[in-house]
């Protein structure tokens, strides 16, 4: 077994993973690798997943070793934000050509690393392996090692070529690269008893900044975010945190668990979506920090903050309740957001008529069931055609989903709100839930729906009569529209 295969196998057997815990010994050994169905698969590759997990480290140059497909078709398309360097948004790739395939791409990779360091001088270069060079046997670990020694700078191999598995696996392999090469390689300038890590928070559209003031107010320092708005040197010091919150479902569970194992940093799984989840996260982290030797009054201060913020949030949500009560939502997203959003929407009186469980863990499933009181409306899979039919038959008033199914909703003339990676509105924290509800309100009450659902006059059964009426109205110089409508 190659080193990569061993790594993949170990990540797939992740003991911290809830799905794996539920399995027997033998099943667990087999790993959670799902066989994809050729001709009926959708979803990103492991490389995509690794990039999603690591690219939010903003001061690093992210170099993709491969042909143009991997970076050229996808760069600068994620909405993770930076408060400093913008080099993470620069697309670097070795753009392998025929010669590189024949002779191997290692030399070109080495030269590419050198060019980046000469021109951009980032604190570190991350090198992403992809399918083609993996297949022809380019050893990126060796190249990175040689380059790091030569240029005196961390050059980190991220060995997650697309064809080893899914985006989810890639998230974890990206995390492994941090565990193997980055975390624990530097000491922080100072530490506090309230230093924490956020694991699996990517600062999509600035959501980290949306919650950070809450931690600041409690005197909790976010030592490292893995990896939203991250800095290489901060991530390198993450081993000195007192506690951690693991977000984004279980994408980086291996990082959280191994940091607990290696450095004794306890963690819990939390979410910043929804009022109650946000409060819950603050409560738990405060309690955890006290156990780790943090100030004893922390929970008390947290409660005060929670009470204040919740009251504010409820007050801001109040005006929406009358408008949104009883509106039916189809929620189509994977992982984390299902249960946290479900509870949030119920808070304003909306009714969940369906939610997808693709990509979610057994744990998530349980949570949704608990919140909704039934699993009757949980879909494992909802093919676009079926989704379209449901919406056309107006079985839902609004759909919340990722960008891919956006046009299914729009073509079915149904209001739609984006809630995945590509969303444009920050939805975290107490403000975030108000934003989400406001987005839903904005979508639902937009005047276009009424207009686009009207058939053209000539498609109506007695349109000629309508037309005559309208004409006579016009002649009498009354407002045609009033009669017409």
């Amino acid at each position: 077994m190659s080193a990569l295969q061993q790594k993949v196998a170990s990540v797939l057997e992740e003991p911290g993973c809830a799905t794996n815990q539920a399995k027997g010994e033998k099943e667990r050994k087999a790993g959670c690798k799902k066989q994809l169905t050729p001709g009926a698969a959708a979803g990103g590759c492991a490389f995509d997943g690794a990039k999603i997990a690591l690219q939010p480290i903003v001061d690093v140059a992210h170099l993709v070793h491969g042909p143009i497909a991997c970076e050229g078709n996808s760069w600068d398309s994620r909405h993770t934000l930076s408060s400093g360097s913008h080099i993470y948004r620069t697309g670097f790739t070795t753009d392998m050509n025929e010669m590189d395939v024949v002779y191997g791409g290692e030399k070109k990779l080495y030269r590419a690393i050198k060019e980046i360091i000469d021109k951009y001088d980032p604190p570190a270069v991350f090198v992403y392996q992809t399918c083609l060079p993996a297949m022809i046997g380019d050893d990126i670990e060796a190249v990175c090692k040689a380059a790091a020694a030569k240029f005196g700078k961390p050059v980190i191999p991220v060995n997650a070529p697309g064809f080893v598995g899914s985006k989810n696996l890639g998230n974890k392999l990206g995390g492994e690269a941090l565990l193997d090469y980055v975390i624990g390689t530097r000491e922080p300038e100072y530490t506090t008893p309230c230093d924490i890590n956020l694991i699996g928070e990517y600062n999509v559209v600035g959501e980290l900044w949306q919650v950070k003031p809450l931690f600041d107010e409690l005197g909790i320092r976010i030592l490292a975010t893995i990896s939203g708005d991250g800095r290489y040197n901060d991530v390198a010091t993450a081993h000195k945190a007192r506690a951690a919150i693991m977000l984004c479902s279980q994408a980086l569970i291996n990082v959280a668990r191994k940091m607990e194992e290696r450095y004794g940093i306890p963690f819990f799984e939390g979410s910043f979506y929804g009022v109650s989840d946000m409060s819950d996260a603050l409560r738990k982290i405060s309690a955890l920090l006290v156990r780790q030797g943090g100030p004893a009054d922390l929970p008390e201060r947290a409660e005060a903050l929670i009470a204040r913020e919740e009251a504010k949030a409820w007050a801001r949500l109040e005006p929406y309740k009358a408008r949104l009560k009883g509106k039916r939502v189809l929620l189509f997203t994977g992982g984390v957001k299902s249960w946290s959003v479900v509870s949030a929407l119920q808070e304003v009186g909306m009714e969940i008529v369906g939610t997808s469980m693709r990509k979610t863990t057994a744990n998530d499933r349980e949570k949704v069931k608990e919140i909704m009181g039934t699993d009757a409306h949980m879909f494992d899979e909802l093919p676009p055609r079926e989704m379209y039919r449901m919406l056309r038959d107006s079985q839902a008033d609004v759909m919340l989903s990722g960008g891919r199914s956006q046009f299914v909703a729009l073509k079915a003339k149904t209001p739609w709100v984006e809630i995945n990676q590509e969303r444009h509105h920050a939805l975290a924290g107490y403000d975030g839930i108000v934003n989400l509800v406001d987005e839903i309100d904005k979508a639902l009450y937009n005047p276009v729906w009424q207009q686009v659902r009207q058939p053209a006059p000539w498609e109506r059964p007695d349109w000629e009569q309508d037309l005559e009426e309208w004409q006579s109205c016009n002649q009498e110089e009354c407002a045609g529209e009033v009669c017409h409508g």
């Binding site: 994809l36 169905t37 050729p38 001709g39 009926a40 698969a41 959708a42 979803g43 990103g44 590759c45 490389f47 995509d48 491969g66 042909p67 143009i68 497909a69 991997c70 050229g72 078709n73 996808s74 760069w75 600068d76 398309s77 913008h86 620069t90 697309g91 670097f92 790739t93 070795t94 753009d95 392998m96 050509n97 025929e98 395939v101 030269r111 590419a112 690393i113 060019e115 980046i116 399918c131 083609l132 297949m135 022809i136 697309g162 064809f163 080893v164 598995g165 093919p383 676009p384 055609r385 379209y388 039919r389 960008g403 891919r404 956006q406 046009f407 299914v408 073509k411 079915a412 003339k413």
Partner: protein, 461 residues
Amino acid sequence: MAEVKHSRKACAVNPLKMSQPIGAALAFLGMDQALPLLHGSQGCTAFGLVLFVKHFRETIPLQTTAMNEVTTILGGLENVEQALVNIHKRAAPALVGLISTGITEAKGDDVDGFLQLIRQKHPELADMEVVFVSTPDFAGAFQDGWGKAVLRMVETIAKPSNVRRPWQVNILPGCHLTPGDIEEVKEMVEAFGLTPVVLPDLSGSMDGHIPETFLPTTLGGTRLDELRSMGESAYTLVIGEQGRAAAAKLKDIAGVPYTVFDRLTGLKPCDDFLALLSRIANTEVPPRFKRQRSQLLDAMLDGHFHFGKKKVAVAAEPDLLYALTTFLTEMGAEIQVAVTSTESPLLNRVPADEVLIGDLEDFEQGAVGADLLITHAHGRQAAARLGIPFWRSGLPTFDRLGAAHKVSVGYRGTRNLIFEVGNVFIENLHEAVPDDFRPTAEPAASCGTGCAHGAAAVACH
């Protein structure tokens, strides 16, 4: 005549280029009831899908043979077989465009051989046409993939024929034409009483219509029976160099004569296009085009003030680069830097000193001091850093509405372009301040750049 240079860097920075396979996929998306199928790992398909969804703002049917580490080494016969069987069962498209990627090419999968075996084993697939196109990611670029897919469709499906349909004309648009452009071309052809067969026809499938039902394949676009009948057409009109090979192939197969228009933007090529249509149809040019032509002349007269001596940086695939740069220079602008993604016989004829096959880092470096940047949406970072006005052109345009409906071909399209680009120049007009007229101690560095304002001009001449 431009000198063509290649970037010598080991690391491409901010790629302009996209891969061949998704260029081929887009060509198949212009076919009716079609489903492009990438033979490779699933990630390549996912990236292509997201790219097209964001550009066209449509759902995009696109599938993968879902190769993994093991099947890549063993060879992909089984995956191709399963994929075709599954697709036949679930989506039943009329046409599958089977598109190879880097790994399956490097492994050397004999896909044509696979297809023969699969056809033998699965007679039930007989009603599903499959066209295979070889497009490794490690060679060529997006427009090459498109060109190859069109060529392969002609090669495998078009038929020789003794029948001629004197009213039928084939149109082979390049991938740089938007659905809006194709619609404009069709209207031009139809105005002469001719029936256009467009291969492929994105204006039928990716034009943003609202379908009655939801299909896992394309809905609208070129039908297979239309493709089969292309050998009976009176003529083939090609727009963009990338379609030349397909037109030549069709001539081989069925003797249909062809003409390649290297662009359809600008007065002269539109004149030629209409003149040729008039000859093919044996009728006069309809009056509406005379009117449109005169409107274009008027727009050129009104617009030239704003284009004269403007320095423009352009990065685009070869056919689009050629269309844009010739248009700009014909309006009086100068090309400060021209960057492209892949080889093309057109590159020598780009009206610039040099054309660089490179990336947007090269573009950004060459664009310092320019009046306008033109490239696809990925130019936004360069534009922000340089503080230079930016006009988006090409795919992907993920951060503006209506990318599919921009029209820049024909008289009307050219007129549009004058207005759109001209307005960017107008918006960024420099209003004089007193310092502009203060005599400078040093003579201005170059005549070309410093002459515009008062004193500097005196120093120059």
